[in-house]
């Protein structure tokens, strides 16, 4: 009778540059071949387990969790051991994770280091050891024997010998050695396949990976490559021919003794938060009630009460209390430190989250879909993302580490995978293509062309004329696409556990000092049903907190987000003009153009504004229909009531991701399960997903139900556009709150707004220079940095609230030096450079930077002179041998030329990146260089359709993915910004000025849409040389 087989030795592609198959490919192949079980045994890692588990969850094939190890040292007299450890129980799994953690935490990122003493000291009594004895070329028989005896002492009855048959030279000797060792040590032998790939066809890829690992090419890798492609999952009949019955039977015996299932991992949330004597459910209920009183001082609306009851019921049914409590705890910590935070994503669909202060979207005002957040059917843990102030998120992270300890908290991993560019580069390297040639090819590729097209693009560029080589190349590239390359840290996904985390999942080092990541990413956590807390960073929250503090100071009382008046018409009027530089989310060029078209009047309009300028609605061509309907130019109608329910809020036009998914259900007849699959496919589309299988079902489904074919096709396009950039309504709703708050501050407290923004740099779309100019255009007086008036930060001064630039604007100045300048400043200010240097204890570098920034106007006549005086202080360097001190007697101060206006402007730019003097364009215009050019202001009063000339500093070049081949250039002159549109043909003919000019001159046609002005570029000229000519051609040159 034929025995079964369990493969106990499999490298997946999570053993980087070694394994040539995905874990799920291995799992699925094992299922096809009728194996009893399969172990995924990556090198000191269990990163591949969740994916294999997802593939085998409901199948007869058992998944065994294991890992392969090679130790750094050897037991005295023995060979360095290589072996596989298999988890026999949940406890054994914890022991395995602990060992992996030890090895990984000790080594650099991506490496591991384990020694014999680790195996001797760590508890591994629930793990089975499969020893892989060394070959005769690596160790003598005696050394192998010593090694085996050592392992036997440690593992006793849980030690087996692994034997493999790869049909390579020297195999017979090795088998003889294995038999002899088994005899001598009385060990059972188990067959293994030493699997590196699920099918033999992957041999070329495995060779490519091997060559890359050895920094070689396939052709030169020689004996580093395997002799043949036998390390794949072989069919049972083949195995039965190769191995004795007993060896196969032993694999099944081992598999039977391994009773750990990844699905049994249950997350235990830390119980720390609940006070003794209270159940988690009661505690959560109490906190929610407290929150209700805060949120609804006048009594909770009935609708919200019902929601809360329903949510609490579901939460307690699914045992998610600890999760909510944990997040509440983190948010409460942030609140107590005055760190602004706000939840977003699907959590904004929860009334409980609103009451707990995790989110800010009021369920009384917006329709919430709690099912999107938690659903009994989906059986998935909820996902709460919380944004914290960018500058202070680290405090929150440190709090989590401190509260739960590094043993119990770590960041989730992000698996960095092969993308087309890296795949082409690496495969090219392994096949020995010239590196410069490959770079050239890569560079010419337009990645936005559909994925299938880059193959043709590369062939057109002449990679090779040999079709066979080309085929091989593309097959390899396509296969390696999506392969993991290394683990990186997730932006902020924390995993917190009740027991030591390392017993749940191995922890390894991240690239960042002091950070650790677990070996699984967020999809893995999801497939195993484990929860994570997303601690994200948002720069705008920092700016808002700082602005609120300035406003509070001005008002003499605390002013919070809740104090911002709602639905302020002046704020909306400002946004409708497209005056939104610095405002959260709507400050990009595309948004500035959309604002006057959409004309937001209410909070919900902002929710739409945030979501509409996105690839989804744009590719689905939903923008124009929506605008027409909003402004009453087109009737709002619905094919039936079901569709009306979905689309009513957005006037019958799908804008949000969940609307599209709902439409798939009500308009195309998708089942709930299918719709969920569609949602996942959309999320995965960017990296490796494929949406085409849904296309036919969607379109035929919609046609059957009498929908317009054109609408169906557009909906599909929109789904593709959402892929990877999904923007759900709840997300937009959270963001829109911040849009409104930041816009309100800009409208009513401009000085505080710009001051806070400048103090939160770097963030947003605009440079400090652009922000300062925008501030000046909003009647904010901006004063230069001055050692006698500035602090490190930018500040508001006097009753008039003038914005005084802080010393931080001086590039390269040390913050400690700036602090000392501020703290040690005498009441009547510093009187001389020497006093400044002495009192503030400044070094030469800081002094020079201050002089270069002209930040000592109180006691120096100009920056040249200030600088000359400073240089005197420096100790003379060592003398040359043939010189005497007499050569260095000081002479009276040498007089230097007074700086010209142009020199001052340039010096300001080089020291601060901005100038408060006249704009360089104003100087050039005065000198007569820009005779026929109109300013941004003049353009507003110019008739559309006529040819014009403009010039300005290039502040932005953009080629958005949604506009085919168009480049948008933003020019800045002394009156504002000018938008230039360069079509592909124009761009191709004038690459040099387009791509390199710092000061650009454009001849073109002016076009207008409402208040929005565009210049359609014709001729471009580079005027950058004028910038350098500024200082000398100035009129007041001495």
């Amino acid at each position: 009778m034929a025995t079964g087989y369990a493969e106990l030795f499999c490298f997946s592609n999570f053993t980087f540059l070694t394994g040539a198959s995905h874990p799920h490919e291995l799992a699925e192949r094992a299922l096809e071949l009728g194996y009893n079980a399969i172990a995924i045994t990556d090198a000191c890692s269990v990163a591949g387990i969740p994916r294999a588990w997802a593939a085998l969850k409901d199948s007869p094939v058992k998944l065994i969790t294991g890992s392969w190890f090679e130790l750094e040292d050897a037991h005295p007299g023995g060979a360095a051991p290589r072996f596989i450890l298999l988890a026999q129980s949940r406890k054994g799994y914890g022991q395995l994770c602990q060992l992996i953690t030890t090895g990984r935490r000790r080594a650099e990122k991506g490496q591991y280091q384990l020694f014999t003493r680790d195996i001797e000291t760590q508890e591994l009594d629930n793990c089975l050891c499969l020893w892989l004895p060394p070959a005769s070329s690596a160790a003598s028989y005696e050394q192998a024997e010593v090694c085996g005896e050592w392992l036997q002492r440690l593992f006793e009855q849980r030690l087996r010998i692994g034997a493999t048959r790869t049909l390579e030279a020297g195999e017979e000797q090795q088998l003889a050695r294995v038999r002899k060792l088994a005899d001598q040590l009385k060990l059972a032998i188990a067959a293994t396949g030493e699997v590196h790939m699920h099918a033999r066809e992957r041999q070329p890829l495995q060779d490519v990976l091997t060559a890359l690992r050895h920094h070689s090419t396939v052709e030169n890798a020689g004996h580093c490559l395997f002799q043949n492609g036998e390390r794949y999952l072989r069919p049972l009949p083949v195995l039965q021919r190769l191995f004795p019955q007993a060896w196969l039977q032993e694999t099944v015996n081992i598999a039977n003794s391994c009773r750990f299932e990844p699905g049994s991992l249950r997350y235990e949330y830390p119980p720390d938060l609940v006070t003794k004597g209270e159940t988690p459910a009661a505690y959560l209920k109490r906190l929610t009630r407290d929150g209700e009183r805060r949120r609804y001082p006048g009594g909770t609306p009935m609708k919200v009460q019902a929601l809360i009851r329903k949510e609490l019921g579901l939460i307690s049914e699914l045992n998610y209390e600890h999760y909510f409590l944990t997040i509440h705890d983190i948010v409460a910590f942030a609140r107590s430190r005055g760190i602004l935070c706000q939840g977003r994503g699907s959590a904004a669909n929860s009334a409980v989250c609103y009451c707990l202060g995790i989110t800010e979207v009021n369920p009384a005002k917006v329709e919430l879909l709690f099912e999107r957040f938690i659903s009994k059917d989906r059986d998935e843990p909820p996902d709460i993302d919380v944004d914290f102030e960018h500058q202070r998120r680290e405090e929150v992270i440190q709090y989590i580490y401190q509260r739960y300890g590094r043993e119990r908290a770590a960041l989730a991993a992000t698996v960095i995978r092969y993308r087309p560019r890296s795949a082409i580069r690496d495969v090219g390297k392994a096949l020995g293509f010239d590196a410069a040639l490959v770079e050239k090819l890569l560079d010419g590729i337009d990645w936005r062309d559909k994925a299938t097209n880059w193959r043709q693009q590369i062939l057109d560029k002449g990679l090779t004329r040999n079709p066979k080589v080309a085929d091989q190349f593309f097959t390899l590239v396509n296969t390696i696409l999506g392969f993991p390359r290394h683990l990186s840290q997730h932006v902020g996904g924390f995993v917190i556990s009740a027991g030591p985390l390392a017993e749940l999942v191995p922890v390894e080092n991240a690239a960042m000092e002091g950070r650790t990541v677990i070996q699984w990413d967020k999809d893995d956590l999801e497939s195993l049903g484990l929860m994570k807390v997303d601690v994200l960073a948002l720069g705008m929250l920092t700016a808002i907190r700082k602005a609120l503090a300035l406003i509070s100071e001005e008002k003499g009382q605390t002013f919070t987000i809740q104090d911002v008046p709602q639905e302020d018409s002046a704020t909306y009027a400002m946004l409708q003009k497209g005056d939104s530089i610095g405002v959260f989310q709507v400050e990009s060029r595309a948004q500035i153009n959309m604002l006057p078209r959409l004309k937001p009047e209410t909070y919900y309009d902002l929710v739409i504004e945030v979501a509409i300028v996105r690839p989804g609605p744009i590719q689905g061509d939903m923008v124009h229909p929506y605008l027409r309907r909003k402004h009453g130019l087109e009737a709002v109608d619905y094919p039936n009531d079901a569709v009306r329910q979905v689309l009513e809020r957005t006037l019958g036009v799908p804008i949000f991701q969940e609307q599209v998914i709902k439409l798939a259900m009500v308009a195309a007849g998708f089942s709930a399960g299918e719709a969920d699959k569609l949602r996942r496919a959309m999320a995965a589309w960017k990296s490796h997903g494929d949406l085409t299988p849904f296309r036919d079902k969607l379109i035929s489904g919609m046609l059957e139900r009498g929908h317009d074919p054109d609408f169906a096709e557009r909906l599909y396009q929109q789904i593709c556009g959402f892929g990877g950039y999904g923007f759900p309504e709840s997300h937009a709703a959270s963001f829109a709150l911040l849009v409104y708050v930041s816009a309100w501050i800009k409208r009513h407290h401009p000085a505080a707004f710009y001051c806070a923004l400048l103090n939160s740099q770097p963030m947003g779309f605009y440079s400090p220079s652009q922000l300062v100019q925008d501030a000046q255009r909003h009647q904010v007086t901006v004063l230069p940095p001055d050692v006698n008036h500035s602090a490190w930060e930018h500040t508001l001064q006097g009753k008039e609230k003038h914005l005084r630039l802080g010393l931080r604007i001086i590039q390269g100045l040390s913050s400690s030096g700036a602090e000392r300048i501020h703290q040690n400043r005498p009441a009547n200010g510093y009187q001389s450079a020497a006093e400044l240097r002495a009192r503030a204890g400044l070094n030469q570098r800081d002094m020079e930077l201050l002089a270069g920034a002209n930040a000592m106007p109180g006691f120096t006549s100009n920056r040249h002179q200030a600088y000359w005086q400073l240089l005197e202080h420096e100790e003379p360097a060592e003398l040359f041998a043939n010189e005497t001190m007499a050569d260095y007697t000081p002479e009276p101060c040498h007089l230097l030329p007074e700086p010209t206006e142009g020199q001052n402007v340039l010096a300001d730019y080089s020291s601060q990146g901005l100038t408060l003097q006249r704009h360089p364009l104003a100087l050039l215009r005065e000198q007569g260089h820009l005779r026929y050019c109109l300013t941004a202001d003049q353009l507003k009063a110019t008739r559309p359709g006529i040819p014009v000339q403009v010039a300005g500093l290039v502040t932005g070049r953009q080629r958005p993915g949604t506009a085919s081949g168009v480049t948008f250039v933003t020019l800045e002159d002394e009156t504002g910004n000018i938008n230039v549109v360069v079509w592909l043909d124009t761009a191709r003919r004038q690459r040099k000025p387009l791509l390199t000019a710092r000061l650009l001159h454009v001849k073109g046609i002016i076009e207008k849409e409402g208040d929005i002005v565009h210049i359609m570029a014709g001729k471009l000229s580079d005027l950058s040389h004028l910038i350098n000519a500024l200082p000398v051609s100035s009129r007041d040159f001495h």
Binding site: L167, V218, Q227, D443, L871, P890, K992
Partner: protein, 472 residues
């Protein structure tokens, strides 16, 4: 003293254009292939500059031709230039990576004045199709700065030279970056303004090194330059923008290199009897050809004839991306052939060389091969018979125990006529070679044939049986 300075603004490009004239935009990139090192005038017109990332350059000019360079290449090229300049001037000094000084005051009498020296140099440059900016200065520094700025004039007037140097903008003064920034922050724009600062102040407020530099430019501080000595070998390299597929395509650059070799030999008053020609390919190892003359030789046409013959015998195995011609052994024109009195100085290298050439003379060049192991699992690729070059050091490779292989491997496998008597070992499966189109997938066995021979047989993927070799 008077110094002449040659600044080569794009030596690598000139070098390539000399071998393969072309009109398109061309850029040289560094070894890693990410940064532009030099850009030809056509490329510069398109906005491409040295130091630019290749990505940016290709954004500006998608049709740009690119060539990679090795770090040492530029140094070799500069040496080449020094070699010919050495024939005109006795005291020259290299200024890597792109300049050469020549002391010319002592030459004025010889050449009949400065203008004729200038003309001689310009002519030599033109003949060699080289771009160089020439300048004369009363100090090495002055000459160098003027040449680099392209402001050179044929004058020995110190005052005139100082005025020209003084008008140079600060960034062209060759000061270190820190000093340059400081001087600019003081509002200074030209070197003349720096000259105007009191020297003691300059040393005290900026640095003594800066003062030294200024004084070296002005000539108030000595600036000795050590003379260059020519090397004792000849080596010239040509790179091709477009791969050369036929022998004919190589002759143009060979002709040029050989006439430079002839010039070099004449000047040395030496001959040679061995040339080494290395042809480089993109994807495979270089072809090394040794060309031997029947006796000492120096004429370019004779060398060319021999090389042509050699290339006729060895058709190009792959398109050529570059070639190197090197000569290491020189023989004195009059010196008698033979060994020195005691025969002790003849080293092993030389002995090997002599043995090989004698064997080749006796047996014919084609009949002599060297056997070497290659790291490849395919038996037919696991060894190589190459031209006997130097007594090779075996290439370092991972220690592998070589598998059991028959000493006599058949040239091509031949079908197994009758089933073997006994099977000794196997199967050993060999599968690989997908990358070069010679994929094998075979199971090997050692078996005794009915005739008693011990054979290495295999079965291929179609199930056919073959004999591949014999064991002793």
């Amino acid at each position: 003293m008077l110094w002449l300075y040659l600044h080569f603004p794009h030596l690598l490009l000139d070098h390539i254009h000399r071998n393969q004239p072309s009109t398109g935009a061309l850029a040289i990139v560094d070894g890693a292939g990410y940064t532009v090192v030099q850009a030809c005038p056509n490329a510069r017109d398109l906005g491409i500059e040295a130091g630019m990332r290749l990505k940016t350059a290709l954004g500006l000019a998608p049709e740009l031709s690119i060539m990679r360079t090795e770090a040492r290449q530029e140094a070799w090229l500069l040496e080449d230039q020094a070699r010919w300049l050495y024939r005109y001037a006795a005291h020259i000094t290299l200024s890597p990576p792109d300049g050469i000084w020549a002391e010319v005051s002592s030459l004025q009498k010889l050449y009949g004045g400065l203008p004729s020296i200038w003309q001689t140099v310009e002519q030599a440059l033109a003949e060699r199709k080289l771009n160089a900016w020439v300048a004369i200065g009363h100090t090495p520094q002055a000459a160098q700065l003027l040449a680099r700025a392209g402001k050179g004039e044929c004058t020995a007037d110190k005052h005139h030279i100082l005025t020209s140097v003084g008008s140079l903008p600060l960034p062209a003064a060759g000061f270190d970056e820190k000093s340059c920034t400081r001087l600019q922050r003081l509002g200074l724009n030209t070197l003349a303004e720096v000259f105007a600062l009191p020297p003691t102040e300059l040393a005290r407020r900026l640095s003594p090194e800066l003062l030294a530099m200024v004084q070296k430019i002005q000539g108030t501080r000595p600036d000795p330059k050590a003379p260059w000595q020519p090397p004792h070998s000849f080596r010239q390299k040509a790179d091709f923008i477009h791969e050369v597929e036929h022998t004919e395509g190589l002759l143009f650059s060979l002709q040029r290199i050989l006439s430079e070799l002839e010039e070099d030999l004449c000047w040395r008053q030496q001959d040679t009897d061995t040339l080494l020609l290395i042809l480089q390919h993109r994807h495979q190892q270089a072809t090394r050809l040794r060309i031997r003359t029947t006796g000492p030789e120096h004429r370019a046409e004779m060398f060319l004839k021999l090389i042509r013959l050699k290339l006729d015998q060895h058709p190009l195995s792959a398109p050529v991306t570059g070639l190197i011609l090197a000569v290491k052994h020189f023989t004195g024109r009059e010196a008698p052939l033979g060994r020195d009195l005691l025969g002790e100085t003849e080293d092993l290298d030389e002995a090997w060389h002599t043995l090989i050439s004698r064997l080749q003379a006796r047996l014919g060049e084609q009949s002599l091969k060297r056997l070497a192991a290659r790291a490849d699992h395919r038996p037919e690729c696991a060894w190589s018979a190459s031209n006997p070059g130097k007594p090779g050091k075996p290439r370092p490779q991972a220690s592998v125990t070589l598998p059991r292989r028959p000493l006599w491997l058949l040239k091509a496998p031949r079908p197994l006529a009758q089933p073997p008597e006994t099977w000794h070992s196997g199967p050993e499966r060999i599968s690989g070679g997908w990358w070069d189109g010679q994929r094998v997938h075979r199971d090997y066995y050692i078996a005794q044939l009915p005739g008693g021979e011990l054979a290495w047989v295999f079965r291929d993927v179609q199930g056919g049986w073959f004999i591949h070799g014999w064991f002793g």
